[in-house]
Symmetry: C2
């Protein structure tokens, strides 16, 4: 019994935590296996250390170490290292790294420098955060370093800046021309990634950013083909509530790639493999009389608590079960 | 007017701070230049980060950031990074690194990874600590990575462990057979090192460890020859008070290389270039009737305060002045 999920940062992590809680309650004795394929497209090297924001947000959230208020980083965090780096004139200073967080990056960078692939390093970090006890295996989408750059216009010239600089420093307020993911074309899916999709009983798309999180994972060679070829139902959760992203700048990202900020348009990005789609009750797709090739279920999508996220995850699984039943695969489902 | 000093860690750093204070009082308007050649023989890579204990102790001490009680590391230090690395199972855990200290090592490692030589990195760290305002230039003895290993007997077999493991973890209590300084034979003196000795008006040897601090610097190709060829008086300060090292394990180090723990035997290690030698009043070399090829001055050598260290540094300079006067070079001296 295997659930495979593609996930970005905060939204993905909170959905996954809800999924774990839902399964713990619904299947206390025989919990399904969850394999998470995490986005590494916004990874960045800072101060010579490799930072994987989305993987870390998933680890910290599932492990109970996340700063709930901000959604990322560690709770009870201090910033002595960053303060001293600022004294030394080290840059950049726009990316906040706490002391405990630095330890993660130091540990990861040391193992990477020894030649250990990111997937193996991530497995060690997952041990520290007890993911196995939750039935979760976290795989980076690829062991190949990839980096998303944003092409912006500065003083009449087009320049590419790192995605994090655009996202964190400029809060996505710099007009973006396009995204370029350096290394993605030639990146190989990490060990287990394609197999996790092919052998899944359910594939879930949490409400992560459809462009710079899910969209990047879909760009890893083989991932999209595996999803198209999967017999498992693929169910996604719209990242839009009230016509806007709950957090982050998915609207700006969508506009940049010429896609409307609507659940329908986001589903269109997944149209070659998506089977079921959860939308908010106010969503235009939920209105009476609307038809869709997709199985659309309307329900509140605000992950305002772990329980709320668990309910949403449960609804996604229920929809997957319905879809599987329609094709005679119901018994294999959790 | 140039003073060149060879220095190890705590003892060297405290002597140098005294020297700066002495010169500030004695030469308020025309302070001599001080060039410090720092030992890098006990450098170590921890968690993938390059740590230079002696250089950092000098920087922190001169810059007012040192933890006075322990003599090394930063004052008002926290240890969040190290605690999290321990959670991750990262090793070793016997070398204490505080959060601010980690920032130094992250900064240095990043610049080294970009191809910047250690001497240039050290210059940037010296800027942060205001060494230029104190008239001090800190040079690592070499830009070539060297590491001191200690050959010990474990279970009947001889094994080499890193000097820091022997010094910090085992407190020099493991019987050592010999020291091996990997890379020293082929290390080149860092830019400015040999020139600093050749062009010095005075060369000072602070009371640093004669084996694993001063002794390592002397092993850098060209350094010993430059000292032998120098016309400047070379004055040293014995590291022994009451027949024992004030701190550290110089006695064990001396025994390991087959040298007695006496000021006379330590001076013997420098006999091909040493001109003057400060010893403690109780030292056998200070007793009436003793003769020496060296100019020996007896005075209290305990650096119990900055003022005490300043007085010792002043006495070393006064002895150098006497020695220069005897050879007609007095006017060039500070």
């Amino acid at each position: 019994m295997r659930i495979t999920a593609l996930a970005g940062g905060v939204g993905g992590a909170r959905f996954l935590r809800g999924l774990v809680h839902h399964l713990r309650a619904a299947h206390p004795d025989d919990r399904p296996e969850i394999i998470v394929i995490g986005n590494t497209g916004d990874d960045i090297t800072l101060f010579g250390l490799r930072v994987c924001p989305d993987l870390d947000t998933i680890l910290y959230t599932l492990g109970g170490g996340v700063h709930e208020g901000q959604g990322w980083g560690r709770v009870d965090e201090s910033h002595h290292v960053a303060a001293e780096l600022a004294e030394l004139g080290a840059t950049p200073q726009w990316f906040s790294l706490g002391d405990k967080d630095f330890a993660t990056h130091i540990f990861r960078s040391q193992l990477l420098a020894r030649g250990m692939p990111l997937s193996a390093v991530t497995a060690q970090l997952a041990d520290r955060w007890g993911l196995a006890e939750q039935g979760v295996t976290l795989l980076p989408m690829t062991d190949t370093p990839v980096e998303t750059h944003v092409v912006v216009t500065e003083g009449g010239d087009q320049v590419a800046i790192h995605f994090q600089e655009w996202w964190v420093r400029h809060q996505a307020a710099l007009e973006a021309d396009r995204f370029v993911v350096a290394g993605l074309d030639s990146a190989a899916a990490a060990p287990g990634v394609l197999e996790a999709i092919r052998s899944a009983d359910v594939v879930l798309l949490p409400p992560s950013n459809p462009v710079v999180s899910i969209g990047i994972i879909l760009g890893v060679p083989g991932v999209r083909d595996a999803l198209r070829g999967s017999r498992a139902p693929v169910v996604g959760v719209s990242p839009l509530v009230g016509g806007r992203p709950v957090r982050g700048h998915a609207d700006v990202c969508l506009r940049t790639i010429g896609v409307d900020t609507t659940s329908e348009a986001v589903a269109g990005l997944y149209q070659d493999f998506l089977d079921g789609w959860l939308v908010d009750p106010d969503d235009p797709m939920a209105q009476p009389g609307r038809t869709s090739r997709l199985a659309v279920v309307a329900r509140p999508l605000l992950m305002s608590s772990v329980a709320a996220a668990a309910d949403i995850a449960g609804a996604a699984l229920a929809l997957a079960q319905q879809l599987a039943a329609a094709t005679g695969e119901a018994e294999a489902l959790p």
